[in-house]
């Protein structure tokens, strides 16, 4: 059993306290990632887990890694996540009802099975050698030790990782970068286009939102003379984000045009 084999007692008392306070919180936070509706909340919980892990790293004699975890992982990577979340819709929320039939029970069974089996297996594991502790390796300083390894034994992967970074940058550029292959239309050009277009309906500009409506918010469309909502009056990106309010609530009673025709 590992727990018997490993007697890392040196920093026992304070570290244990730290662990037993932080670990349940970490666990709960991680679990929370699965259970909260909003992606942003998930991200916040994730950040919490990462910081907790950073603390664990430091507690286990890996201060460099702990710092990197906070600075790079939590600071940069998670921010990237949040940034993209903003882009996609910051308060978009998942409905947590399962749509794929049978997946939920499978997932729960698999989770319980996997977790349970892993814990049980870990409890069974023995190492058969004495635990060393990282103090000796850190004798000359944790950063120095890592640097030593990084620039001697692992210099080749270290070099190769640079290629990986370039790949990532290149890939992001390929997928996200728009070449300016068209001249941006000038205001003058837009104006001309508007008048020479097929219909003069929009020549005077698009209707403003809230016009004739019972509400004057930007996410409520204008109403047309017959009482229906004018889709063009709401900004397209609002629509794309799904943030437009349902205007039917604000519609007037419909004008019955068919009666007129009969006269």
């Amino acid at each position: 059993m590992i727990n018997l084999a490993i007697q890392v007692g040196q920093t026992a008392a304070p570290e244990a306290t730290l662990f037993w306070i932080l670990a349940p919180l970490t666990f709960v936070a991680a679990l929370g990632m699965l259970l909260v509706k909003k992606a942003v909340h998930s991200a916040i919980l994730m950040a919490f887990v990462m910081i907790a892990l950073a603390i664990f790293y430091i507690a286990q004699g890996a201060p460099f890694l702990g710092i990197v975890q906070v600075v790079v992982y939590t600071g940069a990577v998670m921010m990237l996540f949040l940034f993209i979340l903003m882009l996609v819709g910051v308060d978009s929320s998942d409905s947590l009802t399962e749509t794929i039939r049978g997946l939920r029970p499978i997932a729960i069974t698999a989770a319980l099975g996997f977790g349970g089996l892993m814990l049980s297996l870990l409890a069974r594991a023995t190492l058969g050698r004495t635990v060393v502790g990282v103090e000796a390796a850190n004798a000359q300083g944790n950063v120095q030790g890592i640097a030593h390894l990084l620039f001697s034994t692992f210099v080749w992967p270290f070099e190769v990782v640079s290629a990986l970074l370039i790949t990532a940058a290149l890939g992001a550029m390929v997928l996200a970068h728009h070449h300016r292959i068209q001249e941006r239309p000038t205001q003058r050009q837009l104006s001309i286009d508007r008048f020479r277009g097929e219909s003069l309906a929009s020549a005077a500009g698009l209707p403003a939102p809230g016009v004739f409506a019972r509400h004057n918010a930007v996410d409520v469309p204008a109403l047309l003379p017959d009482g229906t909502a004018a889709a063009a009056s709401v900004n397209a990106s609002l629509k794309a984000r799904g943030d437009v309010l349902d205007s039917s609530v604000f519609e007037l009673g419909r004008v019955d045009t068919s009666v007129e025709e009969e006269k």
Binding site: F27, M33, Y73, V77, M118, N142, F154
Partner: protein, 99 residues
């Protein structure tokens, strides 16, 4: 206090991450769950590094962070692309290819 406790925690976090990939629909959340799994692995590395008394584990963890960062860049780029085409970040909506 036993270092193995970190391993248990790591296993639990890994499990949560894995299940998260299965149950969450928002591509970004799914991806965050993958990151959680990687982090869990890192915790294991650090713990084993301590148990083994060398820094190799920490170096791997360091590499993992770098690689994960690259992965995040690529992954988010893909997610953004597909979001722009589909106006949806739900992984369930991307199911043209099947059977």
């Amino acid at each position: 206090m036993n270092a193995a406790n970190y391993l248990y925690l790591s296993a639990l976090l890994f499990t949560i991450g894995a299940v998260g990939v299965v149950v969450r629909r928002n591509a970004i959340v799914v991806f965050m769950c993958v990151e959680l799994m990687l982090n869990a692995a890192n915790l294991s590395f650090v713990t084993f590094s301590r148990i083994n008394g060398d820094l190799n584990g920490q170096v791997i963890a360091f590499f993992t962070m770098v690689v994960a960062a690259c992965e995040v860049v690529v992954g988010l780029a893909i997610i953004v692309t597909i979001y722009r085409s589909r106006r949806s970040a739900s992984v369930d909506d991307a199911s043209l290819l099947k059977r």
